[in-house]
């Protein structure tokens, strides 16, 4: 299959780049005008089913090896970064709730966030401070980075595993909000269905 000159240029730029590039960066390096998205889409189609794929991660594009070859290509070395359970949970909480304050992380985990935990995540380049929450005390809030998306192979945060289900189940809402929702539900529903919770508690 032959590519247009623009597509060849975009391909070469992405191939030679040291990291993921935004469409604007691609255009600047390739000295092209107009939207890069049609070129990127054409290339993505072209690379479908190949040993290399073109992926978008948080608005930035790069080539990587196809994920179905992982079992053969996987390096025999240790994981790039070993995380403690506390760090994994904290990362998940930040990713699914962002932006989120340290107090909010602690409320979910039921224990204090150890000093090193956020440091480790920031040093890995997966978490960043994202301003302050405008509530008393103005606590710092945290969010994930584009590198987080690249590392875990997510095009956007919407691709976080199971996030839609969690949101639909209200599991990403603060407890107070969930309690209100439960009350509302109890009011709306006939007593029979509301019983469930009581049964749990009473059994």
């Amino acid at each position: 299959m032959s590519l247009s000159t623009a597509e060849r240029l975009v391909e070469a730029v992405l191939f030679a780049a040291e990291g993921p590039l935004t469409p604007a960066e691609i255009a600047r390096h390739a000295d092209l005008e107009g939207s890069m998205l049609p070129h990127l889409a054409a290339l993505a189609v072209h690379y479908a089913g190949r040993g290399i794929t073109l992926v978008e991660r948080g608005g930035r594009w790069h080539f990587q090896t196809a994920s179905d070859l992982a079992h053969i290509l996987r390096r025999e070395r240790e994981e790039p970064r070993k995380l403690s359970r506390a760090a994994i949970e904290t990362l998940a909480i930040i990713a699914y709730h962002e932006p989120v304050s340290r107090a909010e992380i602690e409320a979910i985990r039921g224990v204090q966030v150890a000093k090193g935990t956020l440091d480790v995540l920031m040093e890995a380049g997966w978490v960043r401070p994202a301003g302050r929450r405008e509530v008393p005390g103005r606590p710092l809030i945290y969010a994930t980075t584009p590198d987080f998306l690249s590392h875990f192979g997510l095009a956007t945060r919407r691709d976080l595993p199971g996030i839609d289900d969690l949101r639909a189940a209200g599991l990403l809402d603060p407890i107070d909000l969930a309690m209100e929702a439960q009350d509302a539900q109890a009011l709306l529903e006939p007593a029979g269905e509301g019983e469930d919770e009581e049964d749990d508690a009473g059994a």
Binding site: F63, P80, K82, A92, G110, L171, M179, D200
Partner: protein
């Protein structure tokens, strides 16, 4: 993605165990094992969640009352084994005992907020923690850059504009600031007090006790009955010196049959 969604919870656990090398191996939530592994729980909520899982039903179906009882039993067993529990475990135990009594009360006598509401709250907290734990496991099990999928390790690189662009991430910045603060902040050193018995205390104690005894008594029998070995060593040393001082004053007599043999004391002639 769909494959991950279908992954059973057990497999998610395995991922945790792998990634979580730093902590003691977490056994299956079996109560007999639980008592031995207090330290492997990250706080009471973590422990509660493990206990909830041992009910072997969907977390949404869990019996809060049964869970409360499991937790209280666990705390009791830990107390019997004289395991030191952190305060937050005991606080949770007290709160759960309160919740339990509330749940057992007849409806009209229940306080406000209702125990059902408190139970529901606890329930929601457990669900949230579990959801995040599973989410973390699923995140870590994804095809990760540098482990499962790869980018070009040595790209030719795109030539950048000639003008110099200084680069530093926000993390570099705050890390550097933290280091500066750490370097310049005044430091307070607190010397930890070791348990000791002072010479004055020992003199007071030995002279008081020796007066109450009629016959020779071994020096060790004057020592306080305390488990702390450091304190016992200190007490032995200071009591010995106290005995010498009291003997100098004629208030006690000292006898020892051989080198390293037990040292005996009795009230001195000055006292008798």
């Amino acid at each position: 993605m769909s494959e991950e969604a279908l992954r059973p919870a057990g497999e998610a656990d395995a991922v945790f165990a792998d990634a979580d090398w730093a902590e003691p191996v977490r056994r299956a939530p079996d109560e007999a094992v639980l008592t031995v592994h207090v330290e492997s729980w990250e706080g009471p909520l973590d422990l509660l969640l493990a206990l909830a899982r041992s009910q072997k039903v969907d977390l949404r179906e869990i019996s809060i009352l049964a869970l409360v009882e499991q937790y209280l039993r666990f705390i009791e067993e830990a107390a019997e084994l004289r395991l030191e529990l952190a305060a937050d475990y005991l606080v949770m135990a007290a709160w759960l005992a309160y919740l339990k009594s509330g749940l057992l009360l007849p409806k009209e006598a229940q306080p406000d907020p209702s125990p059902e509401e408190l139970a529901l709250r606890l329930h929601l907290r457990l669900q949230r923690l579990e959801a995040m734990r599973e989410a973390g496991a699923r995140l870590l099990a994804r095809d990760r850059l540098g482990r499962d999928v790869f980018v070009r390790p040595l790209p030719e690189g795109l030539h950048r504009p000639r003008a110099i662009v200084w680069q530093a991430s926000l993390f570099d910045l705050i890390q550097a600031y933290g280091q500066v603060k750490a370097r310049t902040a005044p430091r307070m050193h607190i010397v930890q007090r070791r348990p000791v018995m002072t010479l004055d205390e020992a003199i007071e104690r030995v002279s008081r006790l020796v007066g109450a005894r009629l016959d020779w008594a071994e020096l060790r029998s004057f020592l306080p009955d305390h488990a702390d070995p450091q304190l016992r060593r200190s007490a032995l040393a200071s009591s010995f010196v106290a005995a010498l001082e009291l003997a100098r004053q004629g208030r006690v007599e000292i006898a020892q049959e051989a080198i390293f043999a037990p040292i005996y004391l009795r009230a001195g002639s000055a006292r008798r």
